[in-house]
Amino acid sequence: MQALAELAVLDTPAEQAFNDLVLIASQACDTPIALVSLLDEDRQWFKARVGLDVCETEIGYSVCQLDIDRAEVLEIVDLSQDERTRTNPLITGERAFRFYAGAPLVLKSGAIVGRLCVIDTVARPDGLSAAQRTLLSALARQVSDHLDLRRMAQSSARMVELQTALIEIGEAIRRSEDSAAMIERSAAIVGRVLEVDRAGIGFVDATVEHVDFEADWTAPGVTSIVGRHRFDDYGAMREDLAQGLPIVIEDVNTDDRTMADPGSMKAVDVAALVNMPVRHLDRTTAIFVVHSSIPRCWTPEELWFLRSTADRLEAGVSRFRAEQQQQILNGEISHRLKNMLAMVQAIASQTLREIPERGPVENFERRLVALSAAHDVLLQKSWADADLRNVAEAVLDTVGFADRVRLDGPPVPLGARAALSFSLVVHELMTNACKYGSLCQEGGHVDLTWSIADDTDLLVSWREKNGPPVVAPTRRGFGSKLVRLGLVGTGGVDLRYEPTGLEADMHASIKHLAMG
């Protein structure tokens, strides 16, 4: 019965190949009637027929089913004389069948799904000739082969359809901005191709007692199951799921795991379902769920599809959640770090309160604030690359006079280390320009420009214009030492005290800049 269901042939339209085979059988055996009879649970259904005007009969009237398990040709020369058939309405009634011969339809899997039979309305005491019997068996093998091939062609067409849907699901996951959108979009695709009423992924707790659905997809008019559910409320599924076995139920009324109390399933309109587990380190962490409101069978291709979907969606949602977690963590670390800088500021301020000379104290505070500003830029990128321009702008903002500094250059990614040292360099140059350089007088300005040579070297140039005459300092303070450390803390700085204004050229390799 299962084999017949998997053939997906019942109640399908007539097909020429089968029609041809019954025609040949009736001619070869010289009978008015020939049938391809498939034995369903409660009926025999004819995929092809000649000489008969009905396409199915009750299984109780079926002659084909007699001795079907023996997989041999069944021949009854006079049905009205045979013990097994003489009271059958097909024989006693107006159809008055008298002679029957049927060869079994055996699939490659070994399953017997029916017979190719020939029927006459007169008894044939001599039965089929040896040649006719051989021919009938050969034609039955043709019918069986054709049923198998037909199924294979169908399943490969279905496979292509499901693979296309899987690609679509991959794209839906990639273009979703959060986990709920990933789940809704993927589940909608599953719902469409499997023609189910509800789909979604739920995450399972460590003891496999509960499952939490963050989002799902439902057909119009079907209620959502978003929220927490207890497995034991729905039948005996927990142990299989804990071991990573999929739960595949074709009908909750007849399945061992749910038949004791199918009410809870019916309450959420579930007649058939699949729960496909996803495993991590030998533990079931999630299940992909599909629900159908009518009983149905699930083909091996569909189960493969659900397994692939479950894996992909779980990976997508887990990755999103891990990134979110990481962002929260980054924010928390950054917050603490900035509070720590504020504490350092407070301690320094309190400790140095009595010192009459305020310059160095203020310098300290400003350097701390510049460092903190660079840190803010890095945080916005989750401590990945910060853009050189953004770092420069953030530092200029802490010093002031940002409107008198012209920035120009291509995007350059700075790693965390380079961003912090660059921020200190810019801060010192700015502070110096405000005190002694071009920014200490009206009309003075600074060109801060950068370029990349040969894709490998960054050159940052600082040019002060329209300032007072410049003299080289006699003593190197901490500020000028900081500047000489350069972009990555290893030098590469050329400082020139030109009469027109301070000029600084700073080199670094792009590779060093991008390192964390």
Binding site: K338, L341, M343, Q345, S349
Partner: protein, 125 residues
Amino acid sequence: MCVCDRPTKPLVLVVEDEPLLRLFAVDMIEDAGFDTVEAANSTEAVAILESHPDIRIVFTDVDMPHGIDGIRLAACIRDRWPPIKIIITSGKPLPQRVSIPAETVFFPKPFRQDRVIETLRNMAA
């Protein structure tokens, strides 16, 4: 003591749960020529505001345990004591969706003291 002897320095309420940072802020603000009262959380802050109608400016942290945070405190002040000016400071960037009330200035921590003082003086003027 008569009413005319009341101090004429503008009064600033400092709300900060971290004692060291509170001490620092109080010293900075007093050195700049203001009087201060202190609160360690929003609940205390509201009680002080209710008993000190002469408070002109509130200087508050955002993240504080117990009760509401600094941003909601600011909204509450704007609602109940509209004339009071507010300075908010935080180690976190301001959440993008949160809008701070009118007449409120935000400083990320650590801040430049001279800029905070300048803002206080403008607010008191």
